[in-house]
């Protein structure tokens, strides 16, 4: 499986926000549920805009949602 260097806490933050479902988050961000699932599993790195939208919906700063794993 292709994994990105960007990790995230979306699943944890969703559950902390009244168990927000992937579908609900996807609708509010403007992507498909499968894309949210792919982001959570590290199969896809979202664009900057989508990343900011996710952080805005979860009401946390961007760096609390996404982290970059340095490979060097």
């Amino acid at each position: 499986m292709t994994k990105t260097a960007v990790t995230n806490n979306i699943r944890k933050l969703r559950f902390e926000r009244n168990e927000l479902t992937q579908q609900d988050l996807a609708e509010r961000v403007g992507v498909t549920r499968q894309t949210i699932n792919a982001i959570e599993l590290g199969k896809y790195s979202p664009s900057l805009e989508v990343a900011f939208r996710i952080a805005a919906v979860l009401d946390v700063p961007l760096d609390q949602v996404f982290q970059y794993q340095r490979t060097d």
Binding site: K3, T35, A38, Y44, P46
Partner: protein
Amino acid sequence: MSFREKSSWITLVTLILLTLFFVTHLPSSWTLAPRPGGFLFFALTVGIVAFVVIEIIAHIVVAILSPRDVKVPRDERERLIALKATSIAAHVYAFLSLGSVFLIHLGANEIGVAYCVFFSFIIAEVVNYAARVIYYRRGV
């Protein structure tokens, strides 16, 4: 599975099945210099019609079973998957179709070359949709 991933699977399986059916039913007398008309023309016409009909029916069935997924517009991940898969397929098509032209030096006539170019397109589309399925499953 999103509607577009299901659509990719439908197209991939349909293309592979119809191509296999066509290839396995080629007459033993087939050469690179076929004459116009005959089995190849009939099989090609039937294949194209069958492809269109199967695609329409399968997509309607999937849309009826998942009406919510159909209404969701394509998002950035799906656009990226389509872009990357099409890029790979374009290279495959360019290589195979240009190679088809060189078949003239192996005795192919214009009809044989035309069929080879057509099959280059089919193979490229199989690669296109196979790549989409892989990107959907493994990540992009």
